[in-house]
Symmetry: C2
Subunit: 218 residues, 2 copies
């Protein structure tokens, strides 16, 4: 069963490469460093992935799939507070669960987004338009305050991904990396900010999210 070794080595390389691409970027990562971290000779990396760019794109595509799967699919008939809170919480969880993926995605944006523009146009944009329609419907129904749907989503994405992308900043202010309990508290904190920002005060569903989740300050 030679396929076993093949699978395992591929996985080792992908894992090492994801971490290094996240930490140092594409140009800052050498194949030698990937090989060292994976515990393999340099040539083996080239054996499994013909070029550095091919390896990078393999990783990037897996990340985009993960991103897509994490998008909430809330609809017009969901409860606004609940739907938004659970979306925010899922996104914060993803930032803590796969910080390297988040940072590779962030680097792709900083680099101009050329490699992911098909994703942005074909996947993200339609998703945003659907969600914006839901948000506007909620506003018409008086369940959501009038808020620009696009900018609300931008704010949610930014606020949730900052815990992965700007981890050194968080670390410097909080005095260390958050443990599992803190991560859950952070997710609630951010969800609370978002819900408070836009869910109508007299919406019955909002009451559950408005209470008992006050800040647990450092």
């Amino acid at each position: 069963m030679a396929g076993r070794i093949r699978e395992q080595n591929r996985a080792l390389i992908l894992q090492a490469a994801e971490r290094l691409f996240a930490d140092k970027g594409f140009e800052g990562t050498t194949i030698q460093a990937i090989a060292d971290l994976a515990g393999l000779p340099k040539s083996n990396v080239h054996y499994y992935f013909p070029t550095k760019e091919r390896l990078y794109r393999t990783i990037l595509e897996e990340i985009l799939q993960t991103w897509l799967a994490a998008f909430g699919r809330f609809g017009e008939h969901d409860d606004p507070a609940e739907a938004l809170a659970s979306y925010v919480i899922a996104k914060v969880r993803l930032s803590f669960a796969r910080p390297h993926a988040s940072r590779i995605f962030a680097r792709e944006m900083l680099n101009g987004g050329h490699l992911i523009s098909p994703f942005l146009e074909d996947e993200l944009r339609p998703w945003v338009e659907e969600r914006a329609a839901v948000l506007r419907a909620w506003t018409r129904q008086g369940r959501l305050r009038p808020v620009d749907p696009h900018h609300l989503l931008f704010t949610i994405w930014a606020a949730t991904q900052t815990y992965a992308d700007f981890a050194p900043q968080i670390r410097a202010i909080e005095g260390g990396d958050p443990d599992a309990a803190s991560q859950a508290a952070i997710a609630r904190s951010v969800a609370e900010i978002v819900v408070r920002a836009c869910v109508a005060q007299d919406d019955p569903g909002a009451s559950t999210s408005r209470r008992g989740q006050a800040a647990s300050a450092a």
Copy 2:
């Protein structure tokens, strides 16, 4: 007056380098590319800046100074809604005015923050503690809802800087880059989200910011 040429060439190099470092990162930027963009031979870059790292650090330090100057200095006796809104608006303005600076800062974070950790510890952290004290005081006075001060600030930073750092994403969703009027509308939108999220409903100062700034959706 040979000093004139010196100043001008230095400025040309710094300007070109800031843009390229923002677009492609430190490793992704070649001195040749900087020289080409500045309209100078490669050797001249080395004449004014002995090493690539020296050039990079010069740019980075100027950015940190700009960042520091943009920090709002709101205090306990300011109006919460007004103080937070003007801080958010100033930060959004800075993102649009100096997107390259923002993206170099973001890359520094993604790279682990090693070069800016003194800044984070010595400048940012004390500023955060002072502002957190103000936010807590406002909450005690009943002017601000109980919200985790740190996470509120993280959210503000992330939401404002995303317009520089993740510009390709904004572009893909909005269908183009925002003009001056759109930039002002964006600043108000984000400020509104932040103010609504945490300013107490019965605070008299909040009423001005709560009205008439509804979304101008795309």
